[in-house]
Symmetry: C2
Subunit: 362 residues, 2 copies
């Protein structure tokens, strides 16, 4: 598989899960695209953490993305660490773990790999591609690169390019990982170590950006830990400190540090307008894809203005687009949470378009 | 000197600078309080960095805080690393560098040390106490603890308590420092090392919070470094990455990592309402201090709502307070930058109140 960086990769493995049944016309398939730290376990118990799937709030039998009606596919992205080809895998040319010898991949490369999977599954055209955050970037890339292979697109809490502030937060995370002496310039596997401290700091920083200030305030405020008094030291006195430390320490059990470098880099590079002569609308010229663009009012990582820019660009070339901002104080993370209005909009859109696409109710 | 944590400290040293002349009535003294990474070098060439003083935009002859009219005092805070007693100094009990054996200090402790300095200088009552960010916390603490020792107070871009989000960002910075093996549980001086990588990551994270998203966008956008093309690697491709790395690497030359831990902790603990039975207004009951509260519209670290809460609390006990939000897209850092409206308001307030205080023009 040729990559945007000029190198190529192969053979590649893509780990994926499916839910529901593909209908006889092969017309009811929805590709779910996961976010930075997500994976293919959209539903069901996660094999590493033992926790429920990351999108159980939205996806499942009778849910907004109804597995009784649609056939769902969710694959671990290229560069990921849950079974797909990535920096933690083996470089066939050397027989050693790739580490930072792995080529830098882009969102477009991830989509190319997903398209190969869809070919492999014998599906000519997806009914929909749906995803939030970096998953939404993949949705937009699908619509731009392969408009004839999807009927509908649902980009959620995302943007057509990564902002300077978001690049800055990613860079801090990468620096935290690379500053960890256990990182060993990416060759930690060979040293029998893992840069868990650096990766935890990266996760903690990122996690702050996933929540709104109001969400942090409502969840923790300035409440102290159980002992109820200041320690006058550097232990976790405040509940919010303890929460962040927990987020950091549990994350490192399930995620590969090099994968974190590669995937954040792919997001930083994402700029759909730049790939189309600087005009975002040109990414969607002539497209017949039906779009449902969704943002969350308190999301400061991917603010509503970014989604509005996407919706306007599609409208500017007479595309078929609806745009909704969901009122919530839960920040970027809202797309993963139980947000009834959000779920209703996704369900309404998909079921409405499914009628046009000739997908029977089961 | 007794401390809030229950321990005591002494003898203490406070490094300070003065500018202008104290008048015969000793009535024209202004205490300038510095922010987290500031110091006493408010004006003039910094002895370590060789750069101009940190508040040259606002302070100086003929400037908003006019050294021709006022006598300025700026001291390095207790716990700092520019000459005042702090964790990089020597514990007299052991003859060793304090490190994390230094007691945790609070904003109120910093103010107690400043008051001892003011005593030492033979000044009974300050004309004003002025400061931004953590400096503004000290201003509020002065007004609450020692209302009879100041005539006017100018808390800028600050809050009466540190928010959950701000605690979270500080905690990430501390974790980055403490994750650095060169930190050696705070005893790095004895190991001949310094946790520069961890401190740089802490600074980088904090620096993002000092700028608005718009400021980062205007300054850097998605512009690439000189070579103008993606490296498809993990070097600093984007200008914003290079800028942040520079901020991190220059900071470590002038700042002590343990000081960073202590000062961020002091900010986290700051909660003026909690110290007054949970009612912020009670911190200002009966106060005759004249307040000028100032915030900046794009400051998301200390948003306008925090300043408004301070102004309302003062007004609720019939205090003398004006409150202004300055329109700017430069974020929290605006208080350090050339902002003409901001400077005019500070000048107008100080010069107006100086008339009431009987301070002659020189």
């Amino acid at each position: 598989m040729p990559l945007d960086c000029g190198r190529s990769l192969g053979p590649i493995e893509i780990a994926y899960t499916t839910f529901g049944r593909l209908n006889a016309a092969r017309s009811n398939a929805i590709l779910i695209c996961h976010a930075l730290t997500g994976d293919q376990h959209v539903l069901g118990t996660h094999p590493v953490t033992g926790k429920p799937g990351w999108w159980e709030n939205l996806v499942g039998p009778g849910r907004a993305i109804d597995t009784n009606r649609y056939f769902l596919i969710c694959s671990n992205i290229l560069g990921g660490c849950m079974g797909s080809t990535g920096p933690a895998g083996i470089d066939p040319a050397t027989g050693r773990i790739w580490g930072t010898g792995f080529p830098v991949v882009t969102i477009a490369d991830m989509v190319r790999a997903q398209a190969l999977l869809i070919d492999h599954l014998g599906i000519e055209r997806l009914f929909a591609v749906v995803g939030g955050s970096m998953g939404g970037m993949q949705v937009l890339q699908w619509a731009a690169s392969l408009p004839d292979r999807l009927f509908a697109a649902v980009p959620i809490a995302t943007a057509a390019r990564h902002s300077a502030q978001n690049i800055a937060f990613h860079e801090v995370g990468r620096q935290a990982i690379m500053a960890d002496p256990d990182w060993h310039h990416g060759r930690y596997a060979e040293h029998g170590s893992r840069p868990v401290k650096g990766l935890a700091v990266a996760r903690m920083t990122a996690h702050i950006t996933y929540l709104s200030e109001m969400a942090l305030h409502n969840k923790f405020g300035r409440r102290l830990q159980d002992r109820g008094a200041r320690s006058y030291g550097f232990d976790a006195d405040f509940q919010v400190e303890s929460y962040l430390r927990h987020q950091g320490s549990t994350f490192v059990d399930r995620f590969d540090a090099n994968s974190y470098l590669y995937i954040t880099r792919a997001m930083d590079y994402f700029d759909l307008a730049a790939d189309h002569g600087g005009v975002l609308a040109h990414a969607f010229r002539g497209s017949r894809v039906r779009f449902c663009v969704i943002s969350f009012s308190s999301d400061w990582l991917f603010p509503t203005a970014e989604s509005r820019a996407v919706a306007r660009a599609i409208a500017a070339v007479a595309g078929n687009v609806s745009f909704t901002e969901i009122e919530t104080d839960r920040g970027h993370d809202a797309f993963l949470l139980d947000e009834p209005v959000f779920a209703r909009i996704v369900k309404g859109f998909l079921d409405g378009v499914a009628g046009h696409a000739g997908i029977d109710r089961t």
